[in-house]
């Protein structure tokens, strides 16, 4: 597995598409953080504590925040590393040659997945660290321990999220013989989760629990509840909720109930452990989605006939 892992990792870092996407995300994310930093400097009063984390979460100047960029573009880079991982080897005829060597079939697929994950991890860590440096420069002071640990948590959640898209890409690369169909299907699913599911969730919620501006709070709560229920099938929504809790210490949850109570309860920042408690279900959901995807690819691949033609 070691050999496969290092070979794949070298391939990823050498591939042009990986480099292009890395810099694309870096530039976009850098711009968003830079603008957020400027806004923070101009208006230092309203910031309160955890200023450094605000770099990642606040949006300004028309650009969305850093973590919504990751939520939106992260899938692309994850899918990019996975969508032709297996069918490329079938099409090139390398698969039967490699699997005729004394290695287990599962160590081959595991090596591919782990190499992809490692490449994503390094890229994400790189981007976060560069943003971090930019933040130091823009704000002029260093983050404290609490902020550092929350950033580390963000990194872990981000990696799980990207891992989901990677395993989705690998799954499609096993199911589809053509790299193009695998890429298109992945992108279709990405669009569905990042755009359409939000619309669909809203539509369904409107149908099931119609609301007007003067509706009772219970109706609103019901409406939002249904919307959340549907949205939570999407890894994008799960990721956004999980990272919100980790990066915004005063975050109590998304629902209207939480918003309503927040008006009465002082919004003191929570300790990291408590933040984790809020989004524990979302985290487990993300990990489960990733594992399910990978497990399906694993099973299909283990049963797949290895022929070069």
């Amino acid at each position: 597995m070691n050999v496969v892992f290092w070979k794949e990792l070298a391939d990823h870092f050498g591939s042009k598409r990986f480099i292009i996407f890395f810099f694309l995300i870096l530039i976009v994310a850098g711009a968003s953080v830079y603008l957020a930093g400027q806004a923070l400097r101009e208006n230092p009063e309203g910031t309160g504590s955890f200023v450094f984390l605000k770099l990642f979460t606040s949006s300004s100047g028309g650009l969305p925040s850093f973590f919504s960029f990751i939520a939106f573009f992260g899938p692309l880079i994850g899918v990019l590393l996975g969508f032709d991982a297996v069918n490329r080897e079938f099409n090139r005829g390398t698969v039967s040659r490699v699997l005729a060597q004394p290695i287990y079939r599962h160590s081959w697929i595991n090596g591919k997945f782990l190499a992809g994950l490692a490449a994503l991890g390094l890229a994400l860590a790189g981007i976060i660290l560069i943003i971090f440096g930019l933040g130091l420069f823009a704000l002029g002071f260093a983050p404290d321990g609490g902020e550092l640990s929350r950033m580390a948590a963000f990194f872990v959640i981000g990696l799980i999220y990207l891992g989901f898209w990677l395993s989705l890409g690998i799954l499609f690369s096993i199911v589809f013989r053509q790299a193009a169909s695998s890429a298109l299907t992945s992108i279709a699913l990405w669009l569905f989760f990042t755009l359409f599911l939000y619309m669909i969730a809203g539509l369904i919620a409107d149908q099931v629990a119609p609301v007007r501006l003067d509706s009772a709070p219970e109706v609103w709560t019901h409406h939002e509840h249904i919307r959340d229920l549907i949205l939570r099938f999407s890894p994008v929504a799960l990721f956004e909720e999980a990272t919100s809790a980790v990066l915004i210490p005063s975050y109590r949850g998304l629902g209207v109930a939480e918003l309503l109570t927040q008006a009465q309860v002082p919004t003191n920042p929570l300790p990291l452990g408590q933040s984790f408690l809020i989004v524990w279900p979302q985290l487990v959901g993300l990990i489960a989605l990733t594992s399910i995807c990978f497990a399906i690819s694993y099973i299909i691949f283990m049963r797949r006939e290895i022929r070069s033609t």
Partner: protein, 307 residues
Amino acid sequence: MLVVEAQDLVKRYNGVQAVRNLNLEIREGEIYGLLGPNGSGKTTTILILLGLTEPTAGEVQVCGRDPTRNPIAVKRLVGYLPENVGFYDDLTAQENLRLVARLNKISDRRSKDRIDEILEQVGLAEVARRAVRTFSRGMLQRLGIADVLTKDPSFVILDEPTAGIDPEGATQILDMIVGMRNKQGMTIMLASHLLHQVQRVCDRVGILHRGQLVAQGSLDELSAETAGEDQELEVRVAGIVPELISHLQFLEGVSEVESMGDRLRIRCREDVQGRIARAVMDVGAELLELRRRSYTLEDIYLRYFQG
């Protein structure tokens, strides 16, 4: 010693039998040709031998190990060159082989000299550092041979090693295959549908038809089997006269005479070459050539697929 021993192998795909009750024996140190048209089950048989696919029923032993239960042990000893072999085309020839060496747990230090040696052996030493993407079909196939040699196998399976290659390249590859057996003592199994090439290098052949081994043995054995008890002689005579033909027809042991231009094809039940020669002289004709017709693999092959 037997390198491959397969008994009553069966492989079914969704109700279609790709391999039916196959019995196969390959002896140590021989070049065995597995013949058959496309879709006759050659590749399936190979995949079973390597443990890349499981037989539906039957027993296999390759190099004394069971590929179904212990594929890793088998793959350690067996080199396989698949049909349409592919390489990582952004790596060089050397890097591709190094990867294979690593997958076989051969350290870079130990594999380095060996890889250079093998590339020299297959005539790719000059392009060792060139990306495989620039290689021609023939070069790729030779690199495939090098790839198989990297792990120093005791048994090598080659699936259509000469398909799609020009005659010169094919000859080079066939010479390499013979060299591998003669110099390195490897046992080789060659699956192909290119009969004349198989005929050139193989000690024994097996003919696969719809997943069954319909004939097996050395070329001489198969040839004798095809001819049956009858023999066929070809006689070239200057100035054939009808008298000669009728004379020959009544010779003892001759069952049929057929005239084809300046040749006569004579079917006979026993060796009558001496009698025929005398008969030709007796009518005053000139005997130019008299030979027993030998069967090429093609004749043998066609016999099985027509009859």
